[in-house]
């Protein structure tokens, strides 16, 4: 099987995997980037959210054939040092409980703020409704998104 070359977090990564392998498992198992999480494998929970060419996608449902050479950004690549406004807001608001869903939440929030710099509560709910949090941190997620929006606009 011919090797694929992915562009992940700014680096070219060479992989020998079937083209129908979901991006989630290429990231986690082949590339050792375990920040992107498995929650359901069916696009229902959002824990696997990454950016593909800047757009939020569910990595569990995105085969490598659909990724091609487009740039992939994972939670590890959102910033070099946790300094992205969304990451800093997540710490300032102490959003996480168990934290397992939060990488996906953060990636979805970061994508939202690029298209909608000052979202309303309703816009936040709409954009992040596919990111489930079993611990129920939704109020703090919303507060952190507003905080990050306030810092960047």
């Amino acid at each position: 099987m011919p090797p694929l070359v992915l562009n992940v977090n700014g680096s070219r990564r060479r992989l020998s995997l079937p083209a129908d392998t979901p991006l989630l498992w290429a990231l986690r198992d082949a590339l050792g980037l375990t920040g992107t999480k498995y929650g359901c494998g069916a696009g229902l929970c959002g824990a696997c959210t990454v950016h593909l060419d800047g757009q939020p996608v569910r990595a569990c449902l995105t085969p490598l054939s659909a990724v091609g050479a487009k740039p992939v950004t994972t939670i590890e690549g959102l910033s070099r040092d946790g300094s992205h406004p969304v990451q800093r807001a997540w710490i300032a608001e102490d959003v996480a409980q168990c934290g397992y869903c939060q990488a996906g939440q953060i990636m979805a929030a970061a994508a939202l703020l690029r298209t909608t710099p000052r979202p309303s509560d309703a816009q936040i709910d709409d954009a992040l409704s596919g990111n489930l949090c079993r611990c129920g941190t939704y109020q703090r997620i919303r507060a952190a998104v507003h905080r990050a929006a306030g810092e960047t606009t």
Binding site: P18, D29, A30, T34, Y38, Q87, A92, Q97, G99
Partner: protein
């Protein structure tokens, strides 16, 4: 019954101060210098010569905040700035830490007294060391932000400068605790210690654990009340990356280990595809108990209409209702409910001939050690348990079945194996939270104040099941 508290203090290899104390709670403030043999010690605290403080979080962190809140209690009584504190996760070590489970909302209440004592003892010893060096009375000294102060002469010594002397002192008979009115940490919002790792994807959960040479396994369990009659694994074995199929036979108690088929592969994705390609034939187990949600609900709704077994009875409830201006009634129901943590069940085990090592998200690491020892035939002492961060517990991870599965498969293939449950398995094969019905009535007086409260509750008894000698399979 509460145990006496025992504190042991010593010098660390690097010349710092080490404090351990047994948990849970003490009786009064009595301290023993030398604990009796066999007493478990816990609450590990180390103060280094440079003033850095390391606190060991002994319980698993499931999102309930244990890894932050228990260290805060210690740091408060020790009176050090939180910025100086580094928290490290403990492995299972019951001889050092005592109980290390997280469940039943017991974490703070079980550890509160012991942690306050540990911090207070360490602070007292640092004060005594400073007082001795200054030639003043300890009562004339105070502490603030990791330093001992003598107001009378304006002198000040950082804890780091005192640790070597403090470590040589006897454990004091009295160690005054802070007045809660003077708390600086407790009662404030302290950002979770692992937040930086969570927001950058560096925090490691069970599913993120890795061992050299490991394989991945995905499990299929029989539907409730069924067993495997026949298995066609031809298609599963043909999935690229699949190495072996391992059948898991049940332990006597389904709380420990149920029957399953594990597809072992060189990647999680291959294991999941292999699991989906299995072609099992299930057969119903004769005379297996039936769980009928509708029948359970009906029997609980009926049960709450009857007197039942009193748990509490204060005053004359009947009279209050008879004289009430108004009554309110409401019936609350919860169904059998999947725990559904965001991180599905998983565990990594590396089983060798003479020892085993386990990494995973768990709420009862002592239970994991015991069950892994049982299914592998090893001594408990030969089973090392590492606590990863937990992507949600909710009580499901008080059981250790997923660890027993990983150990069983690792032993069968002779490699480290990470067992993963798909979300479908996690929801279909959960040990469901018990269902229940609560029927409430309140009596109100003319001013709308509640003058009587009547609550009848009915639910299946989890304890009765767990304690029964012949639990249904």
């Amino acid at each position: 019954m509460r145990r006496r508290e025992f504190v042991q203090v010593g010098a660390s290899a690097a010349g710092g101060l080490l404090v351990t104390v047994s948990l849970p709670a003490a009786v009064g403030s009595a301290l023993a210098v030398v604990p009796p043999p066999g007493t478990a010690l816990g609450a590990f605290l180390e103060i280094a010569a440079d003033g850095g403080v390391t606190i060991t979080a002994k319980n698993p962190e499931t999102g309930q905040g244990m890894k932050t809140s228990l260290p805060i209690i210690l740091a408060e009584e020790l009176d050090v700035p939180w910025e100086r504190v580094r928290v490290v996760q403990a492995d299972l070590d019951e001889s050092r830490f005592g109980d290390q489970f997280s469940g039943g909302s017991t974490g703070i209440s079980d550890n509160w007294e012991g942690l306050r004592t540990a911090g207070a003892v360490a602070r007292r010893m640092l004060v005594e060391a400073a007082a001795a060096r200054w030639g003043v009375a300890p009562a004339d000294c105070s502490t603030a932000a990791g330093a001992v102060l003598h107001a009378g002469t304006g002198r000040r010594l950082e804890y780091g400068a005192l640790v070597a002397e403090a470590a040589r002192r006897p454990v004091p008979a009295e160690a005054p605790r802070k007045d809660p009115a003077s708390y600086r940490l407790i009662g404030t919002r302290v950002s979770g210690v692992e937040n930086p790792g969570i927001v950058t994807g560096r925090a490691r959960y069970g599913l993120d654990a890795r061992a050299p040479g490991m394989l991945y396994a995905c499990i299929l369990h029989p539907p409730f009340g069924h067993r495997l009659a026949e298995l066609n694994a031809t298609r599963a074995e043909r999935v690229p990356g699949v190495r072996r199929i391992v059948r898991i036979e049940p332990q006597a108690s389904p709380l420990h280990l149920r029957q399953g088929v594990a597809v072992v592969a060189d990647s999680t994705w291959a294991a999941m595809q292999g699991q989906r390609a299995l072609e099992p034939r299930w057969e119903a187990i004769a005379d297996h108990p039936v769980i009928d949600s509708a029948a359970l609900r009906a029997s609980m709704l009926s049960a709450v209409e009857h007197p039942g077994e009193p748990i509490r009875s204060d005053g004359d409830v009947a009279a209050a209702f008879a004289g009430a201006a108004r009554t309110i009634e409401a019936t609350y129901e919860v169904p059998l409910l999947a725990h559904a943590p965001m991180e599905p069940m998983n565990c990594l085990a590396d089983v060798r001939a003479d020892r085993a090592e386990v990494w995973g998200p768990m709420q009862n690491p002592g239970g994991v050690q015991g069950l892994v020892a049982r299914v592998t035939g090893l001594d408990r002492a030969a089973v090392k348990v590492h606590l990863t961060r937990v992507g949600g517990g909710f009580g499901r991870r008080l059981l250790s079945d997923y660890a027993a599965e990983a150990a069983t498969v690792s032993k069968a293939v002779g490699r480290p194996v990470q067992v993963v449950w798909t979300r479908e398995e996690d929801l279909r094969q959960d040990y469901y939270r018990p269902c229940g019905v609560h029927r409430l009535r309140a009596a109100l007086d003319a001013d709308g104040r509640v003058i009587a409260w009547d609550q009848h509750l009915a639910n299946p008894s989890r304890a009765a099941y767990a304690l029964s000698k012949d639990p249904p399979v």
